[in-house]
């Protein structure tokens, strides 16, 4: 098998059913880790080293097909790597014209320390207001000996068939030597 499976990682919205927590429904098979790109072995050239993730792992699953105007649930599995301890989750929508929270949804939830080493489970209800790839930010906060630590995971919610929106930054042109450059305007004085 070719272990340079980087292309395969696009398929990583797949089963993480080995979460080891009885409270996780077996039907919740397609759970996406919040760090989706990093679990592959080295190719012939070597490995891919990545930046560390914070001390809270978050995996998620979007329940059903998001539709404009209808509430959609996002199941979260949350686990501290520092052992069982309380975790505070805060939810935020970047673009209030694109998505809002369901009426009953609290923006902040406190989770007690779990009884075992398994993840805690929460569900967030949001309502898409337009099509496109919309982001729900989930901030997980814990208290450590070094103080409060917060990690944020941006969960993409695909509404409709609209492709991921990309952003332009400056302008691509060719320089005198025929090299492509991306020209970014600078301020002058």
């Amino acid at each position: 098998m070719n272990r340079m499976i980087f292309p395969m990682l696009a398929l990583l919205a797949t089963a993480l059913s080995a979460c080891g927590n009885g409270s996780v429904d077996e039907s919740d098979a397609d759970v996406t880790p919040s760090t989706p790109a990093v679990n592959f072995k080295p190719g012939a050239q070597g490995g891919r080293t990545v930046k560390p993730q914070g001390p809270v792992s978050i995996a998620y699953k979007i329940i059903g097909t998001p539709i404009v105007g209808q509430p959609v649930g996002v199941d979260l599995q949350v686990q501290s790597t520092l052992g069982p301890q309380p975790i505070t989750l805060s939810y935020r929508v970047n673009d209030s014209t694109a998505m809002e929270f369901a009426a009953s949804q609290e923006a902040r939830v406190s989770i007690a320390a779990s009884d075992d080493d398994g993840p805690s489970v929460q569900q967030v209800q949001v309502v898409p207001l337009r099509e496109g790839r919309i982001f729900l930010n989930v901030s997980a906060t814990i208290e450590t000996e070094d103080g409060t630590m917060s990690t944020v995971t941006a969960i993409p919610i695909q509404v409709g068939a609209a492709l991921r929106e990309t952003t332009e930054n400056g302008e691509v042109m060719t320089d005198e030597n025929g090299e492509l450059v991306r020209s970014l305007p600078a301020n002058e004085n």
Binding site: N39, G46, Q53, P55, T81, S139, T167, V172, R182, L184
Partner: protein
Amino acid sequence: MIVLRGRLALTALSLVAMAACGGGKGGNNNSGNQGGGPVLTVSGTVNYEFVRPNANCNGLNLDAPVLRPIRGATVQLLGSSDAVLGTTISGEDGSYVFTNIDANTMVRLRVRAELKQQGAPSWDVEVRDNFDDSGNPPPLGSRPLYVADGSLFNIGSSNASRDLTATTGWGGSSYTGARAAAPFAILDTIYTAIQFVLSADATANFPALDVFWSVNNTATVSGDLDAGELGTSSYFTGLQELFLLGDADSDTDEFDDHVVLHEWGHYFEDAFSRSDSRGGAHNIGESLEAALAFGEAWGHAFAAMALDEPIYCDTGPAGSSGGFSLSTETGNFGVPGWFNEWGIATVIYDLWDTDDDGSDNGSIGWGPIYNIMTGPQASGDAFTTVFSFAAELRAALNAQGQAFIDSQLARENIVSGNGLDIWASNETNNAGVAQDVLPLYTDYTADGSVLNVCMNNQLDGLTRDGNNVGEDRYLRISVPLTDEYDVVMAATTPTPATADPGDRDQSDPDFYIYDGPQELIRGWSSDDNLETARTPTLQAGTTYIAFLEEWRFQDVDGAPASFPSRMCFDVSFTPTP
């Protein structure tokens, strides 16, 4: 005790940079005073806006950027048709000067997001945009290089002064303009790292490094680099390619200088030292495979040393208050030991820094650390772990230095003193995992005998990354005969088939065999339950090492939940007939 602090090299490097500046036009100036009329200068500074984190790393303080010079970058003076009239290198204060420019010439400034230096020392860093949705992208190394452009102006009849600033593009609640500062923030952070290395080795030659950043580099999707689907910021070992997040909606790293230099620290290992880390996911506080733990610790410590700032900060999406910070001086997360990336990072940092935090009251400086990383750590017989690093470093220090490193290792519950060796022979800390962790190296004589080795994923969590202690095993192999060897790794733990034909429910053993830093052969097929390979000729009397793994422990999209959490294998090396 040696005290050799990093900033000593600044003066030397400044001299190099200023020599390159030449007080004016660079070497490929192709203009000159052609008309015989008045000749003038264009001078000024080039700068970028840097954004610091808010207190406690609660997001970036985008409303209060600070101006910093773009140091050591290529500055060009372009004519009205974009012909290059002059090229120079910006100084330590971002200054530049072009001389001998004809009066009344239409010109504009361009700063290229590149650091170029030939000779000794030398370096070649370029910041490019990897994103390309054309369907026919050029090779990564030919993707667009970021440049910051000024506007055309007429130099007139007197010397001109022009300061250029690459701004963040932040509009108060979102990015509304070109994010010009980002590539130069990355570039300048790397410039700092280069200086730090030069403080230990003034003639270091840095292999070319391509850095890829894009406003479309997202953390939320992974797979297609052309589409910016990074998943996270990362470094590709062996390719000298560093990718950084820039998607404002998911995560941006251009101003997270510790993140940039953490990954650059991996480049350092790749270019100057060695890393046997497999890479992959790792959360703070986890107990990690030994080589991964050291590699990540090195990235943290290097960033903290080069920036002379112990607080690691990784902010989240633009405009959010998300982020987490960790102190490389005092941080304490998870079970202490040789598998704890942060604990090892504090050891390395505390060996360097001169601040007394109670348990760290000395400093050996950067020089000895650099020498070990570029010497024994790069060429040693064992895998690159805290044991190889610390044992070799300890051997190079005097009694006072040895006592100091012993105290730092002991603080992190890592074997120290005379019991420390590159093989972790006397390590007793098993991370709380009762089996399959120690000894770190299992001894094996390649005489055809069968060794049963087990591994387990007891500590793996939500990410199922296969990177925790116990999930991989090391062998130390002695060879009685100079010969080629048939290597077999066969699962002995039953792996019952599941009802789902899509499951990859059978074991997938893999092994990698090394002669010190040199990989000799790997067995990494997808064959069920069995891996085989024939080695090249192994020399009698030479010690070889092997890395064994159960791929299913990280096969998140294939292995069923019912896959055994502990797997055992019969391993043998048999001389060929």
